[in-house]
Point group: D2
Chain length 341, copies 4
């Protein structure tokens, strides 16, 4: 069987497992106050070229979104997201569970538009009844988006400018950040993102770790008593080393970037293959997720040998199918896939 | 000055104040267990022709929405509303504060469409990832809507059918219910609404009371330990008599319907007047709120003598203005308004 | 029948009903922005002799507690209360519903002790694990307490000093404040309370109003965007005039104090009567609630003519019974009660 | 340096790391639907001798407590815990954050007493005002307790009987369950616990895993749509295999029990050593945590070579110190410790 349904089907990059083994009997303090978290944070700060960065480690993406949003917003504030944004559509209402409204704005291939955000916020404050409404105090975007698309540096700076204008926090969900940074089409570097955003996270779960997201507050703007807030949401783990060791490994010798690049290289091979075979792309994604419109009969046949993700029904006879490559995808996987396409 | 900006600018219908005075020194139990609440509930049940109705009294509309929705939904469930629905747009995130997502569907002159609800729910359960999403478990609609429009009996039954199909509760926000029932265009009676909906409320605040909304659970479907839930949300008042006396008065000798009809009669006079004067209606509302597109210069002049509600900017030189009549509007108000239009 | 079970069994003081009637057709803005709320707030500020006071009106006591506590605390903070404090024991978990812990400290005839609060806070911050715990950030006390007892000025100042030392907000629940201020034993005035506390409220529901509590932030320390917060909790009413008119009346010509004094005078008569008749007081309350230990057989007989409150079982043959006087209790009520004791 | 401050200072049992490595490139479904979670659940069911058990894996203890409690309670219900219970004292208000009250009852060496629970619940329902209060609907106990003490089978059955009588759920927090089961003093087996409790969890984090707690609903009583609830609280991880592999390893060849027994053996050696050296035990704990009263000067000296946990100040010259053994403690650790005591 060949596995292309997602980027979290394998365990972890072997270097991570090795490191867990090597450090296993080094004693540590609990709750993130260990030497590995500390080293990992230093390396991430360096990679971000951001002296004012505070780095914290959380276990998963939905958790990171809920913790960051609910700890940075005041009780009555809401967060803007694209209609397709993960927090609005696919996190079981985890944001609303913390009491905050997700304000949906239109998506354009999964992305928000700076002008539309500006207009929303401008209209909001112009409304005589705005005290009866939820003020937009944060903009949430995912990069890459849920459709694998990317913001350009200009687009991200445009949104940041609008955020500044209206006093909003800019939060970038980087569950797949490595795949965005290594995309052939990206003009955004990690230091760019650290400079432009107020807070973002570097996804580990989907980029080679067993679990873990590194949250970066870029302006020494960690919410007061953040550890307590994290614990209050059940998100503080006793053996913080599990996260520290993984991120320390990922940010040693550029491992995070190298394995991300592997996924991109394989995705580009895959895309070429799909196009060569005459498949129509649903969207031209520059990252590790490729969305293809496939005839249902072909899909049925394919599934005997290959697992893929179902994105949505396209029409009565076609389906939008997702192929995801990852840090673990090999040339052999792609070659073998060719046989079944 | 003439007042048309809203339907809550005056105090209460005089009969209510008289009744409060007459009953003032009758001793009562607290927290809604008094003789007046009990009598009012009986009269409302009779007016609804609904033996299975449980009637509870709450203080205001946002409170009623938050209490009903959060007590009827399971923790992980969400409520569907039109994008213009009061709970989504104008209640400061009160529903999200209780942990629940408001799922926005398109509005058509303020109304939801049964087919669109059906499609949303059908697609939801067809999605392989639906366990990661917020299940739509309730449909919220306002009647009249925020634009003063009304559902027909057929439309409401259509929505109810979709609700039944997908196991959703149908909740009707009747903050202005009287004005809907007395509209010349309405084919829905109070017993119809009680029969079709699972829960709804009869608005008092905007229809002659000082405060108060009568929540009707139509199928003996009051959530278990509802009094505790109401108190937990800070919505239980010690002197329940304040609500009981008001609704008992409103539902004696059809007062609620008579004063609602007054608002409709005056609104129709107003509409004719506006049309005669050549104003363009923004929407043809059959209830007590009339939305007119007015030149800004004219509006400025008008405001010297008349208060109106600003709905939204229409274009650079025009504004959508709301005129609201109420139980308290008189023929003289309309005549005098004529001078300034 | 004679009614002594609580202080909310009658309607409102007649002057309030008169005033509601007289002002009924004066047009007002909604949501508390009316002339009556404004006038009432001015009078309350004057009565408090507190230039920095912000006054807001809410509908009921549990609501006031939930709104004040949850809007003043940061998300991770808790509030200290006596084990018998209303928020801990009798409000259906309304504070926890807003996400905050009520930290119980021992009660002494319903009161907190400054030294015990100090010790708790000192120990808290001395604990190496305090980041894993809920920091005490507010002290809640009721005055009079649930047992009708009162803090002396010295005691209240002692608690305020401890609050200042540990950065805690001092919040006084004055649901029965009038009865405390008018007690023969009280050395605390309204200006004292405004000076010593950070926030408190002046109870209307139990002191002559139909409903309503006047929340006073004494240091211009109203939480940012308070109106939005109030609405988010479903506590903002459209016709704010209902509260404004009532408090404007209560704070005109010292009505609030005069009617409170009536309750105290009657309570003292009652207490003397009870002692004369040989009843044993459960607690020597200086306010309008009197707690008596009564034989169950006597209680049964009494109840044929008099309603009283059951406080708790005393032993197998005795019950602690509450007699409450109020603004509405008359000399005749006391005389007639004498017959049945 | 010697490490005795807690039972989570080392990584994981080597067998777990080996297994993670061996299974690393086996493809799995996400979110707990993998073969390892499934195998682990089967083994745990077998170890519990409980056909009706549903097993779910969560990441940490506070998370498990918050998820179990908030998913099993109705919105208005509360949970009883000892004053020293972890959820009441040391979880940053995580339970209150979900809206539920923790009802504190007295602790007896960290344990709840069945009679006191019974009395509380009986009094609660006898109170005429109980609808205004938080009904106790669950009993939370930790086993071993925060003081290392254990419930006997009789005690646990006694509490279960009281729970049944009052319709309460019995929930056992087994963050250190292995150390309880392997205690020389325990007459409770894992099947006993599964039979007696409604829900409990088997702690991994403190017993050899990197992270993970196995929640066991013992009566096929998993809350409806539990996966959605878990995700809503940010507690669902994409690579569920991380938990599955660990618990599958722990429940293969009785590893969980064997490594737990190691901790107990070492704790007994430690206890003998402490007594021989003339130290006074603060409490006679039968599990892996030993609490000793130590002179501050001695403690200072000790800390040059040994890390310990500070429990509480005993008096001005003494401190209560915790020594924790674990799955990883060796005979050499104990021998070396002897030198410094």
């Amino acid at each position: 069987m060949l596995y292309f349904q997602s980027d979290y089907i394998m365990g972890a990059h072997p270097a991570i497992l090795d490191r867990l083994q090597k450090t296993n009997f080094e004693a540590t303090a609990g709750y993130g106050a260990d030497q590995f978290c500390s080293a990992a944070a230093q390396k991430i700060k360096a990679a971000c070229q951001c002296d004012n960065a505070d780095v914290w480690f959380l276990v998963g993406g939905t958790q990171a979104n809920a913790v960051v949003i609910s700890s940075m917003l005041k009780r009555y504030e809401g967060v803007i997201a694209a209609t397709t944004g993960h927090i609005g559509a696919h996190e079981a209402g985890a944001i609303e569970y913390t009491g905050h409204k997700v304000i949906s704005l239109p998506e354009h291939q999964g992305k928000l538009d700076a002008c539309e955000i500006d207009r929303y916020a401008t209209d909001f404050y112009a409304d005589a009844n705005c005290e009866h409404m939820v003020p937009p105090a944060m903009v949430y975007l995912s990069h890459p988006t849920e459709y694998g698309t990317l913001y350009s540096k200009g687009e991200l700076e445009g949104i940041a400018k609008v955020c500044k204008k209206h006093g909003m926090t800019l939060f970038l969900d980087g569950a797949r950040l490595g795949y965005g940074l290594m995309s052939y089409n990206s003009d955004l570097t990690l230091p760019d993102i650290a400079r432009i955003c107020d807070v973002f996270y570097i996804g580990g779960t989907k980029v080679g770790a067993l679990c873990g997201e590194a949250v970066v507050f870029t302006k020494n703007n960690t919410p007061k008593r953040f550890l307590t807030l994290v614990k209050q949401q059940g998100a503080l783990i006793a053996k913080g080393r599990l996260l520290g060791v993984q991120f320390d490994t990922l940010f040693t010798d550029d491992l995070y970037f190298k394995i991300s690049k592997n996924a991109i290289d394989k995705a580009e091979m895959l895309k070429r293959l799909l196009c060569d075979k005459g498949y129509r792309l649903f969207m031209d994604s520059p990252t590790n997720q490729q969305f293809v419109i496939m005839e249902n009969t072909k899909l049925c046949e394919l599934q005997k040998n290959v697992t893929v993700g179902f994105w949505e029904k396209y029409d009565d006879t076609h389906t939008v199918v997702r192929f995801a490559t990852s840090w673990a995808t090999t040339n052999e996987d792609i070659s073998e896939l060719e046989k079944y396409l």
